[in-house]
Symmetry: C2
Subunit: 142 residues, 2 copies
């Protein structure tokens, strides 16, 4: 965790971005919380702890961390965008349970390889990708 905070602070310094109280709060809360979270959720958690930051600041800070490659925004269905911090994590994908909302992370070399091959064939330069499988998890099909 320390290493993670440091990585983030380094990123901010490099870019002449100020390490404000609010940003610290948001980053700490993010690292302490579940891997996947929504902005509203994070904001509410802070508020419950008596730490009041503006919703706008939450969005702005997350946006900043995305630019720095420290956070990723994932589309988990219709109107559901969530964030996850990706410090030291490999690029993975998600299975999303439509009943209980469970998220199963997965990653697979074989898929990565194929994907690389297919983009090369098209002369397509890959920046990011987004793979979700929707359905019912083990618990919800039993």
């Amino acid at each position: 965790m320390l290493a993670e905070v440091e990585k983030i602070e380094n990123f901010l310094k490099q870019r002449q971005i100020k390490l404000t109280e609010e940003r610290k709060l948001i980053i700490d809360e993010m690292l302490a919380s579940q891997r996947h979270f929504g902005p509203e959720e994070l904001w509410e958690h802070l508020r419950q702890k008596g730490k009041r930051v503006s919703r706008a600041t939450v969005y702005r800070t997350l946006e900043l961390l995305i630019e720095g490659g420290l956070v990723k925004k994932v589309c988990l269905g219709e109107h559901c965008f969530r964030y996850e911090h990706i410090l030291g994590r490999k690029n993975h994908s998600h299975m999303v349970c439509l009943k209980c909302g469970a998220l199963i992370e997965f990653l697979d070399e074989a898929i990565d390889e194929r994907q690389k091959l297919l983009s090369q064939q098209q002369g397509f330069e890959v920046l990011s990708r987004c793979f979700q499988i929707f359905g019912y998890c083990k618990n919800c099909t039993q």
Copy 2:
């Protein structure tokens, strides 16, 4: 095209859904247009042809066709949902060019296989999936 219209009309009949003038217009426009389109776009096209339907009706009709498995809604990045009709088309994925907006469809047996295997391992029942690759297309990297 005829077969497609028929397939849609059959679906409507089976479900006791009325084949109204407005729905015909929307379906025709959809089949005549680009594979991928937004609701606003479709609405505007109809309007330009002097066919006035309510935006709400466009959304409602597309929703209906999704239920019937005749149309699919795809998330192509941040705030970009688009529709595509999937009559007689295999389940495919997209490469999205972030510069020119080009869409390259692809499908790959190997990826499908892996994906099937991975979900089985998790005891996950797959309903649908969504795979996008973001980056720059051939023309935009040259």
